[in-house]
Amino acid sequence: MKKSVFLGTVAATTVLASVAMAQEGATLAQVMERDELNCGVNTGLVGFAAPDANGNWTGFDVAYCRALAAAVLGDPEKVSFVPTTGQTRFTALSSGEVDVLARNSTWTYSRDTDLALDFVGVNYYDGQGFMVNRELGVTSAKELDGATICIQTGTTTELNLADYFRANQMDYTPVNIDSNAEGEQQYMAGACDAYTTDASGLAATRAAFADPESHIILPEIISKEPLGPAVRHGDNNWGDIARWTLNALIAAEEYGVTSRNIEELVRSSTNPEVQRLLGTTDELGAMMGLDAEWARRAILANGNYGEIFAANIGEQTPIGLARGLNAQWTQGGLLYAQPFR
């Protein structure tokens, strides 16, 4: 009897605890108290989130986690990275295992509403593509009728793939895999003719191959995949912090604030928007429960959006992605940070 009451209490408290988290301001308080940010990332996608030989996580999504940790906790190293698969990521977020999910997840209607997530913005505008071995002689996705295709389960790409092949009256056999690493292994072994995921993911995967040249990414992009960090519904304060950290990184690039000139700009900038961003006037940080220098620390952690892009996935890296849609709105891209005022 004692045991069952005890177990019941434990189970009930667990359920209660998960609710406490969704309450206003609770996530920030928890992160502060823990003095560490739990950030859900990919299990390993070079360029976006992957541990290096020393176990240090690096990548485009990882940089966002570090910027957020720097803004909230003052130290970009105070992040605990939780690797999640396509299947476990949203459960990890809604159960409170992670405070924020930065795992190249697509912002979709049902995830925003039905899954009770809040996407705080888009950090990479992507689209789904196909990669095939050059030897196969395929030059277009329209030639993939009857092919076997490796696909990560529980992703939007799985649904897009089904829709695309139906729309083009083609057949395919799916090989369901759980993570990018597994997909890579199956693809390399020839267990599938084509591997499909977001084009950025394909580029990152291909960059890790011994002979990237012998694999081609087909020209068709079959979907819109706006990727961005997500938080739980219900804690709007935490959502604001996550959203404006991302905006700070994007705005910093627009205004020419980099990790190198930031100290100087704090002292000398005459641009009122830069002054507000860097906390020299107006105290924007206090409105979200942070100090005035939150954005300064976020930018200092890994640099602004452009610096992060260039260091992790840009054209100078093995992954070699062009800015394309991800250029600033002033450069013909889609990046457009809401004004800091």
């Binding site: 009451v5 969704a22 009770a116 009728d145 076997t148 529980g154 089904a162 056999t173 799916p174 199956q186």
Partner: protein, 418 residues
């Protein structure tokens, strides 16, 4: 306990609920029951309220919405336009396929290994011991992954079968192709297709299949009638009529006629485009899962069979040998029937284990119930609680069915005491 005569009509006091032996156990049972119920109510209430706080409801409406994803192995017709419910049923059927195949193969292999462990050949018996210990003592998941990895890495891709001088060639007279995706095997094709019986919901049975089932089941009953007639004649006259050619004819002639009528033949798979078509592609994930489940469970069944055989007294086999029975007839007619009484109860547990273990299928991308309802559907709809509850209930019902079916079988073979 000494008998203390109680007063005939002692007035009932509340303290008697605890102090009086007659009421005490009942009192505590009532208290425990109330506490357990309160605990359960607390849990359910909390869950519902917290789901509401998170903006989620508890309803199974998602089962009727469009699934949107494809499944590689579909025992019943299924497309991405079907509902999540149908996808779940496809997953359940895939679970059943691997469970049934696994139970059959594990039983056959387990009995062979279990009997062989008691073999007089020292080397053979030791080899079987090694088999049992290796498979019993390593996690099943590793076996599944190892078998799958072997298939993926060693077999050639379908590409290798292409061209005038292919790197790989088909086996069994160009009828079977082993690839790193699937094993392409021939299917049965008919020149005179009688059409199909539509059961609704796009589930069809070919009339030819039904005809064969009727012929075989009917044949089996006729065979029983012939045998009992023969027995009756033997009991009456002492001469047993020759029945073997009748039995053979009953079991084969109708089938042969059906084969000829329908023009049944093998259709070999051929490489068209990226993959083999025309035959049946048995995916490696199914084979790997099936093989690993079989080997793993067979090791346990072998031990059960060995224990069962050892439980039959030595005197039984000595008596059988004294009557002049050969060893394998002794095993089949004397030892195994008695051993079955010990073997079957633990065997039920192994069947249940195998069925539940099949949910490890997700490791190799085999879309079973866990992969469809508990995987993609759960993930796309975000209905974790509903999907998990539904999955738990399904596995529970499945296990109870297997268990009760096997218990009925057990009741038939166990020692009948009259």
């Amino acid at each position: 306990m000494t008998d203390v005569p109680a007063p005939a009509h002692a007035p009932f006091r509340l303290s008697m609920l605890v102090n009086d032996q007659r009421y005490r156990s009942l009192t505590f049972q009532v208290i425990v029951f109330i506490l357990v119920m309160a605990g359960a109510w607390w849990l359910v209430d909390n869950t519902i309220r917290n789901l509401a706080l998170m903006g989620k409801s508890f309803d199974f409406g998602f089962l009727w919405s469009r699934a949107g994803y494809d499944i590689s192995q579909t025992p019943i017709p299924y497309t991405a336009d079907d509902t999540h419910l149908r996808a779940s049923v496809v997953g359940l059927l895939n679970t059943l396929i691997v469970a049934v195949l696994g139970c059959i193969a594990a039983t056959v292999l387990g009995v062979i290994v279990g009997v062989s462990r008691l073999s007089k050949s020292w080397l053979f018996a030791r080899l079987m011991t090694v088999f049992v210990e290796i498979f019993r003592n390593m996690p099943l998941l590793l076996w599944i992954l190892i078998v799958y990895a072997i298939f993926t890495e060693i077999m050639p891709p379908p590409n290798a079968y292409r061209g005038d001088d292919p790197a790989a060639s088909m086996i069994f007279f160009d009828h079977v192709a082993l690839t790193n995706r699937y094993t392409a095997i021939p299917t049965l094709a008919m020149t005179n297709d009688p059409g199909s019986l539509d059961l609704g919901a796009r589930i069809t049975f070919n009339w030819a299949t039904i005809a064969f089932v009727v012929a075989l089941v009917g044949g089996w009953f006729i065979r029983r009638a012939i045998l009992s007639h023969a027995q009756a004649v033997q009991d009456r006259t002492g001469d047993r009529p020759v029945t073997w050619w009748k039995n053979l004819a009953i079991m084969t002639v109708p089938s042969l006629i059906l084969i000829w009528v329908f023009g049944l033949h093998f259709e070999a798979p051929s490489l068209q485009g990226f993959n083999f078509t025309g035959g049946l592609n048995v995916s490696n994930s199914l084979v790997a899962l099936w093989l690993a489940l079989t080997l793993y469970t067979a090791a346990f069944i072998a031990e059960i069979v060995r224990a069962g055989i050892l439980s039959v007294s030595r005197g039984q086999s000595e008596a059988a040998f004294a009557l002049g029975l050969r060893p394998n007839r002794t095993m089949n007619l004397v030892i195994l029937p008695q051993a079955l009484r010990v073997i079957i109860p633990p065997l039920i547990s192994q069947y249940l284990n195998l069925t539940k273990n099949s949910s490890l299928a997700i490791a190799v991308g085999y879309m079973d119930l866990r992969g469809t309802l508990g995987g993609t559907t759960l993930n796309q709809t975000g209905r974790e609680l509903e999907a998990i509850v539904l999955m738990m209930l399904t596995y529970l019902v499945l296990s109870l069915i297997i268990s009760s079916g096997m218990n009925i079988f057990n009741a038939r073979v166990k020692l009948k005491e009259r």
